[in-house]
Amino acid sequence: MRDGQDILKALGRGSAGPAGAGSADGDGPAGAARTAIAAARELAVRPSELVEVLASLKGLGDFVLIDIDAVDRPEGFDVAYRLLDRGGEGPAGIFTVKARADRSDPRLPSVMSIWKAADVMEREVWDLMGVVFEGRTGLKRILCKDDFEGHPLRKDYILVRTPRFPVREELRPAEGAEGGQR
């Protein structure tokens, strides 16, 4: 993942020093940001500055959050925010903002305040992957039942195999010669 220094700068974040050093959001030249974004397709971001980056991206207009999904990698949870870039003259591509949450205590700031669509998406990532989104209300399971333990999409969650063929041999119907029993 290319380190999106130029994009961060273009978004008026200044150097990617400690978070919060950025000036008022969105005052960077919007044109420069747009061309930088059009070039790169991805941007890796530290969890702390995730909300500001997404807020400023939304400030540019033409960006729609269409998906949040997470990948359980050995080194941590890669949560990707996919934005559909409707504005530019070229085809409507996908711009991804990636943030990594560490395995032991996966936490990320919630972006529900920026896009309302993020509500159900974050609940799904929490439900299946177990990444906690802070600063939001109503973070509860969306697909599994409410009192479900564990997060099924994690690699350490093992599926139980269901036997396909009946173990009780005697139950088998009388074998017809062709085309199974009729």
Partner: protein, 396 residues
Amino acid sequence: MRDSSIGSADGAAGSVTAVAAEARAADPALDALQTEEYTLNLGPQHPSTHGVYHAKLRLNGESIVGCENVIGYLHRGMEKLAESRTYAQFAPYTARFDYLAGVLNNWGYAMALEKLGGIAVPERAEYIRVIVAELQRIASHLVMLSSMVIDLNAVTGWMYAFTAREGILDLLEAVSGSRMNLNYIVAGGVTEDLPEEFEAKVKRTFEDLHARLDDFDRLVSGNEIFLGRTRGIGVIESGQALEYGMTGPNLRASGVDLDLRKDAPYGIYDKLDFDVPVLRGGDSFDRYHIRLLEIHESVRLVEEAMAGLPQGPVRTKLPKAWKPAAGEVFEQIESARGIQGYHIVSDGSAKPYRMHLRSPSFVNIGVLPELAPGLTIQDFVATLASLDIVLGEIDR
């Protein structure tokens, strides 16, 4: 309140709670009236929830005060299953996501694999993909039209649209062997070539389709009662739609011109000329009407693709134990209900490390809790039908 008779289109949202509040303000005695809200579970077992969708409605009389979506009843854990199947083995499962537009799912998955493994697709296969995909879109839109119409109790209209769909399903069966869950578009092309005299069958089916659609249109679209039930009901502004990440016909009915076949053309959509209908109203009637227009566009697309069909192979065979290079891809396609995205992460083995589906209905339904307050139960049913959700795709 402007006097609106049963037939005339009621422009203002005309929500019932506004009327009740107004009456209460006018007559102080009404205030003493002790009314109590109650919750009503609409679903998961309900005739008009289009699958196992469950809405916890808080009602004041018959108008909705609050709504909460409860989903997950059809969660089969498909994304987890994908991690224990090879790439080719998972292809048939994709048709079970949005089971009304099976082959469109296949296409999204196949395109993601082709981009992941850098597989070339023969020209003829691209044309056949457009033909079969647009036929599937027609069938899917016909289900939407008929299920919306039967939710408003026009049972005859429902029957006409489903009978029209039979012809399309027969075409799909002639091509791929199965009517609903096709496994026809695979990585590298399509499984088999078109059957012979397929062109004549398509022409016959389309004649019958046009006749039935015109009758359906005449029976329902102009009907004042239908207009009274859907015009100005469940209005979604374009800003609200974008805020909720809505895509597909629901978004285009709110005035936003976003169609991947035009904005990010894949396959051979840039070679075909068709236009994308966009309506401004954003109410249930426009969401109904836009699907009717899109069917005519899809018919045009199929005819164009049939005309320009080149000769040649239809598939580049993949090795049985196909192992793409480690990497990650996100491919998106314009499915019948919106943008369907496939995010596949491969670690060099024969099985995907992670497979995630971006489902349009999962996001489109997020707008309901904000839309429902003020509607009556009857309007909620009409709005839910107009959003055209498929629970297989929502719950995965």
